[in-house]
């Protein structure tokens, strides 16, 4: 068994190397690989490192793509947390749920780099507001969940979209990070259920969704239970991947369509090229 655990720690080494190389696409693949390997190992394996690393790869791809002015600082700032995830995972003395706290630490650290200049200046930390919003969204999801059987619905993504921007703008506590994680994991498998197409397949989302809503509605969050549910959902997701490989239905909808360049930008580029060409043929 220790050799099998070694495989997971080797996945983590590869993930860290991909982060250092700024190869976030590969980092995402390696994080998925960690979760697939965890699926093979079945009981008692903590999926959370793979899930957090996947989130980190996506956040950093965004930070780099948006050419955030503080990209290098963000990378330096988060690097020790990536190491900490590995250390916590390999330390058998630690509780597996301790990683939830490292996830929160990561999110608080990366958050400032996910905001635009304007947002950073305008928004502070409004933890109670985030709690209020998340409660509202979970209730709304619960009331509207039948919509998940309909073809054109985007309910889970819509809820996640609101949660994501609320967390980014106002920050959150551990409970919100856990809620966001569980729902995001659920979206991974829901994508496959929609892709498969049958109503019976889609209905499989309900028991999982009920588990998520029920655990998140408890007065005091049960981190062990949340971890168990997360690992269960992620394990199902990797099995879906083995059955259907990559499906793109959701992604295609979410890609922003091409757009027109602003007129003043066109004019300025035009002036520059004209000037260069003019100099060339003079």
């Amino acid at each position: 068994m220790s050799e099998l655990i070694d495989v997971l720690s080797q996945d983590i080494e590869a993930i860290l190397a991909a982060f250092n190389e700024e190869n976030y696409g590969l980092m995402n693949i390696l994080s998925n690989r960690f979760m697939a390997n965890a699926t093979f190992l079945k009981n008692g394996v903590n999926f959370l490192p793979g899930f957090i690393y996947k989130d980190i790869s996506q956040n950093f791809r965004r930070i780099k793509n948006l050419r955030t002015d503080t990209f290098a600082t963000a990378k330096a700032d988060c690097r020790p947390i990536l190491e900490k995830i590995k250390d916590y995972y390999l330390d058998s003395e630690r509780e597996p749920t301790d990683l939830w706290f490292v996830y929160l630490e990561y999110y608080i650290t990366v958050r400032e780099h996910l905001l635009s200049d304007i947002e950073r200046k305008a928004y502070g930390t409004n933890l109670d507001y985030t709690r209020f919003t998340f409660t509202w969204l979970l209730e709304f999801l619960n009331e509207s969940k039948d919509l998940l059987l309909h073809d054109k619905n985007r309910l889970l993504n819509g809820i996640l979209n609101e949660m994501d921007r609320t967390l980014r703008c106002h920050s959150g506590r551990l409970e919100e990070i856990v809620s966001f994680s569980l729902l995001r994991a659920l979206t991974h498998i829901y994508t496959y259920q929609i892709f498969e197409g049958s109503i019976d397949e889609r209905k499989k989302i309900f028991p999982l969704l009920d588990d998520v809503i029920s655990v998140l509605s408890e007065d005091k969050i049960n981190l062990n239970k949340c971890l168990e549910i997360l690992s269960n959902i992620l394990s199902e997701w990797r099995k879906y991947y083995m059955r259907y490989m990559e499906v793109k239905i959701m992604r295609e909808i979410s890609i922003e369509k091409g757009f027109e360049l602003p007129e003043d930008v066109k004019e300025k580029i035009s002036e520059s090229i004209s000037k260069t060409l003019g100099e060339e043929i003079e």
Partner: protein, 272 residues
């Protein structure tokens, strides 16, 4: 001059949620399909030498030395470019003339089929070949360069191992490095720098001694230009850091000023 980086910044401001790939595609497509044809149609082309003048220059080049020959070859190249540009311009004007719906159309000469100018298959399908051969070549020439310019326009900054722990542990230092990075990315010479790394020098016998070194790698081989870039960048970054101190508490300001005092800019200079 307005460059690709300026364009990307302006496009990002107008489309804050667009990712880099979408911006890249929009920028390249607009340059290729809209801006370039418009420039070509409106460009005022100079008159080249008359055939008689050209013949005289050719005779001179035969008798002259290497330099005279090279000058003549260059002149011939420019004349060819002018001819091609005139040809494209004339055809584009014709297309504009027959255009009836605000789009460019082109008659393919072999039947009654028209293609919109922006159609991706257009150039391959035309029987004329020539009118747009230059445009086609220009597009092929431009595309990889545009992509390369776009990727280059995000300056590579590496923060070295020695500083990473300090960023995590000392909030004021983190704030200091953040301003340094932001300022470096916003200097007007960002385009002239290929690489930056931020490092720390320490003396382990004197733990309090520490210097932050910004290593700049300039793209230019020109000594004077390098000096100008080095001087301007360090002034720009220092000014940004000084202006930030106004927002700090007294304790933070004290620490900030220590970092500022120990900040150095290093650039390998080309030989004079």
């Amino acid at each position: 001059m307005y460059n690709i980086k300026d364009a990307i910044e302006d496009i990002q401001k107008a489309n804050p949620n667009a990712d880099m790939k979408t911006i890249e595609e929009a920028l390249i497509n607009t340059i290729q399909n809209e801006i370039l044809p418009n420039i070509l149609i409106n460009i005022a082309l100079p008159k080249g030498p008359s055939p008689g003048q050209l013949k005289i220059l050719e005779f001179r080049s035969r008798r002259g030395g290497i330099r005279v020959k090279e000058r003549f070859e260059k002149l011939q190249k420019n004349i060819n470019l002018l001819k091609n540009l005139e040809y494209v311009k004339a055809k584009l004007e014709y297309i504009k003339y027959i255009n009836s719906s605000q789009e460019y159309y082109f008659y393919n000469g072999s039947g009654n089929q028209f293609y919109t100018f922006a159609h991706p298959d257009f150039i391959g399908k035309t029987d004329y070949g020539d009118p747009f051969a230059l445009l086609d070549e220009t597009r092929e020439y431009m595309r990889p360069r545009l992509i390369s310019e776009i990727s280059k326009s995000f300056l590579k900054i590496d923060i070295m191992e020695s500083i990473i722990g300090k960023i995590k542990e000392e909030p004021v230092f983190k704030s200091f490095i953040k301003i340094v990075e932001t300022s470096l990315r916003r200097t007007k010479y960002e385009y002239e720098i290929s690489n930056i790394n931020i490092n720390e020098l320490r003396d382990y016998e004197i733990p309090s001694w520490s210097k932050i070194i910004i290593n700049l790698t300039s793209k230019t081989d020109d000594f004077d230009e390098s000096i100008t870039i080095w001087d301007s960048i360090q002034k720009h970054v220092r000014d940004d850091l000084i202006s930030k101190t106004k927002e700090l508490s007294e304790d933070e300001k004290e620490l900030f000023n220590i970092y500022l005092k120990n900040l150095y800019f290093h650039m390998e200079l080309p030989e004079e």
